[in-house]
Symmetry: C3
């Protein structure tokens, strides 16, 4: 309890007024104070739950979810976070709705939001589309609120777009903070965000982009490695550069996985699709050229196959700091000999890190709950203190 009170005290020193009634779309749109507030709030909510204190602030209210891509852990994380705060998730299943009738984004956004406090969207399939769509929705409901159509402004949480995956990367970071014993311990730590081979095709770029956009803010030494042709969105690489310059860290690019792993404290080997190819695919999709998309997929798989040596093997791990770098993955991983013949990571490496990997994933519900909390609550420390004083049990069995 003392620990929770300390965390609340620290929150008081952060300037977070601008988070109130606002969205969470890209980490680099948020100030350092705002980013740290999410971590603090996430840990407060986690420790409240561990101490059987309910952080419920909503007696009723909807959290709308829209998943335009398959999802297990993000869906369950969003659901868990909303449930913990008292919101009920109502899924907008576009297949079951009338949206096909030619309804505009503006209209749908308002129509689903009369009692919506939060909207969570995953839209990561097409370059230039997902984040844009989220902003359209945000604008629409903001206007709806200002025009008196909506009684409250539903705030958005980006559950993965074409640019960033903030709930993932913030969970990754909170895992690092707690693993290494505090954010200040991350300074100068080397993290290798590297491409890895996978037999599957077209994985989003939002995780590596999110990682270089966020981790460079903490004074870390971020090395991004990928085979030639697998570059990320250049805007985000610029963000990473600027962050590093500002925070006294480094942002280095290389085409060698070994160079990235060398002396790394943390490794994050993960497959993604080449940005240029994804852009092409999006264009073909827009033009309805499905045959050419199929050819492109074949091409890309063949291109991937040239880089099967980009695997996180035991030998690669030996290159890292004392051979013991912390291995990260957003899951599910393509594990060699387990989920595929040849993949991103050797089974023995993956197995050794299973528990920390699962813990890494376990931060996501709390990160999402914190984002919602900070966007809906005006006076955050006071509200946490009030919840603590109230001390309602999450589980009231004896």
């Amino acid at each position: 309890m003392e620990e929770i009170r300390n965390l609340i005290s620290q929150l008081k020193n952060l300037e977070i007024a601008n988070m109130y009634n606002n969205d969470f779309l890209l980490t680099w749109e948020k100030t350092d104070d705002e980013i740290h507030a999410v971590f603090q709030a996430a840990d407060i909510i986690r420790k409240m739950r561990e101490n059987n204190i309910s952080p419920k602030i909503f007696e009723s209210g909807l959290a709308v979810s829209l998943f335009r891509d398959n999802s297990t852990r993000t869906r369950f994380s969003f659901s868990s976070a909303c449930n913990l705060l008292g919101l009920t998730v109502q899924d907008l299943d576009e297949g079951k709705s009338q949206i096909a009738h030619g309804e505009t984004v503006r209209e749908t956004s308002n129509m689903i939001s009369f009692m919506a406090d939060v909207i969570g969207i995953r839209d990561d399939m097409y370059i230039g589309k997902g984040n844009t769509y989220m902003r359209e929705v945000s604008k629409a409901v903001k206007e709806g609120y200002e025009d008196g159509v909506l009684e409250q402004r539903p705030t958005l949480v980006n559950l993965q777009c074409d640019i960033d995956h903030p709930t993932q990367c913030m969970a990754d970071m909170l895992h690092l903070i707690n693993h290494f014993g505090g954010v200040e311990q991350l300074k100068s730590k080397k993290i290798a965000m590297t491409w890895a081979y996978s037999p599957s095709y077209g994985k989003p770029l939002s995780v590596p982009q999110g990682v270089i956009g966020l981790m460079t803010r903490m004074g870390m030494n971020v090395t991004l490695a990928y085979p030639e042709g697998y570059g990320l969105l250049s805007d985000v690489e610029e963000v990473a550069n600027a962050n590093a310059a500002k925070c006294g860290g480094r942002f280095v690019k290389t085409n060698s996985m070994k160079e990235a792993f060398q002396d790394a404290d943390i490794v994050y080997p993960k497959s993604w699709a080449p940005y240029a190819a994804m852009e092409k695919r999006t264009a073909l999709y827009g033009e309805g050229k499905f045959d050419e998309i199929k050819s492109l997929e074949k091409e890309l798989l063949a291109q991937n196959a040239k880089h099967k040596d980009w695997e996180c093997t035991e030998d690669m791990m030996k290159l890292t700091k004392e051979g013991k770098a912390l291995y990260l993955h957003c899951l599910p991983a393509d594990i060699t000999g387990v989920s595929c013949k040849e993949g991103e990571v050797a089974a023995s490496v993956f197995d050794r890190y299973r528990t920390p990997l699962y813990k890494q994933a376990g931060y996501k519900p709390y990160i999402i709950a914190a984002m919602i909390f900070l966007s809906k609550v005006k006076n955050v420390p006071e509200t946490f203190e009030s919840l603590l004083s109230l001390g309602a049990s999450r589980f009231s069995g004896k």
Copy 2:
């Protein structure tokens, strides 16, 4: 708060005993007092929520929803209303159930209702079917309750059938009441419920039927306009006639959209399918004659296309009272040049009325909540007063 107390006082003068433990299937089955009680209760619940007072009356309980047609706004409205009162929506997805095994309506209705307080059904596709089905379900669960199978009687809310769309039309009416400053202001107002061209096919008749069945009760001058061959269910037209006679209003039919718009205070231009054709389609469906259904659809689209001049243009709007009639639509509208090449309404007209249109839609969750409240609560004013005294916050953040 004073305003809420006034509304509660007014409720005390209405005779609503018969709403308790009863369904809401057709507006014309309800007395004037009962109709007004829904409006009062909806406004009370709305104002409670606006003042952050939770109207939750259920600590637990299911609200079963069954959507046999696509739905966005009604689905979210139902979900919002149930959530606000404390009920959890459990969707009966017929695809995922065992109903195909040849189970009877009577059996399924009881099987899903052991802890169901409310059942909401949308079944609007086939003439003579939807409302009939709702009554079968209602009868089944009423018997289940009387036989001691169910601990409570789940009451039904018609979320759109082949005959009426009460949650829509009641929301439309509450919008009019609040827009014009009170129900007494509606007396003698002219409303034009008119057909409009749409390139799509087979839209339900329940909205125009619901409108003429309800609006004629308020002493309004209701003009129903449609091209020859687009008549509504004659029973409902008779209801409208009887209402008008009784309430000192008028119910006029015409085949001229212009005549309807002339001096109208309110216009509601909307596409629907011809009743006779829908009846034929239902019969063909029953006989499994799918080829003939396809021919019928083609025929109907061709027939529609003869009436492209039935559009709510700027010129048409100029015919209305001071050129400023209130434009209504249940949404989504077929907007010319936006959602289709030629449609029900000109983009400029639609745009000018966007905010009132969204507000119109925003009443639906409260209408549904009021219908549920009035069907589940025995002493309505006392319960509202008790909720007000309790003053539980919907959102307890500071």
Copy 3:
């Protein structure tokens, strides 16, 4: 209330410590005290709800459901039970998840469980698979809990597997207990669990297996009847034999439906697939031999058709004790002339027993709630007493 207090008192005499933080997979893994505790707890929860006292013990928390087969009543029962206790159901829809990516059971189980208190699974399609899968999930989340990945251990409820259908059979038994006026009244009662003809194919064996595995524990005289070739899993028949020997009851097998019905107090005529054929089908499925599966299905339907005389007709009912045996079915039943041309039961028999059949089904939500309650609550009687003292209304309308 006095009645509820009596039931709680009786609970105090049962040894149920081992149920805490444990799963409910097979009834024969549970002691007699544990089985009786479920019945007591179910009746306590039922009577609390009937007296408008909320048994809610969770302020928040997820109940994950995974249905690998269609379901109406079990889905709604699980949903009702969870809702009554305060849990929100989050469905794991494997079609919408990333599980196809080759994720392991261990991983998925942990990923969905960060805030899950309960996991309910139906997996009854393949011999040797369903129960095995449940145990894998259970092991995974138990390890996750022990490794600090999960804050709580999600306990499993078997919502039907290839071996047992405990929530169904326990509901059947509670129905018998309340129908006959107490568990001691069941001693020496004859129950005929018999195969019956159905034109459909491949119905699970879990109901008859569950029935003989459970009912033999109560000193009942259980007669299992089926045409040659329709035997059950031999392990379960051994369980039934051992139970009967231990409890002073009988377990008799026969190939004559008449012999089973003769002087029976209770009859449970129901179709199922032959165990050997289901085993073969599972093997063919594993080998991807879909053509051979089709041939097998045809064969089995032809085999079924030889036993159309296995129907619960009025004449058959006359053989039972005073012609008035209680008729049971897990529903939906194949009713001759109603849901099929020739089926398991004559329409007039089914109709006469409709109300008790629906009541039988109505126990399932309470059985599930009791299983959850007993697995999550450490001090069960104290918690019930505390809920009773608190006396929170489930419905607070006046």
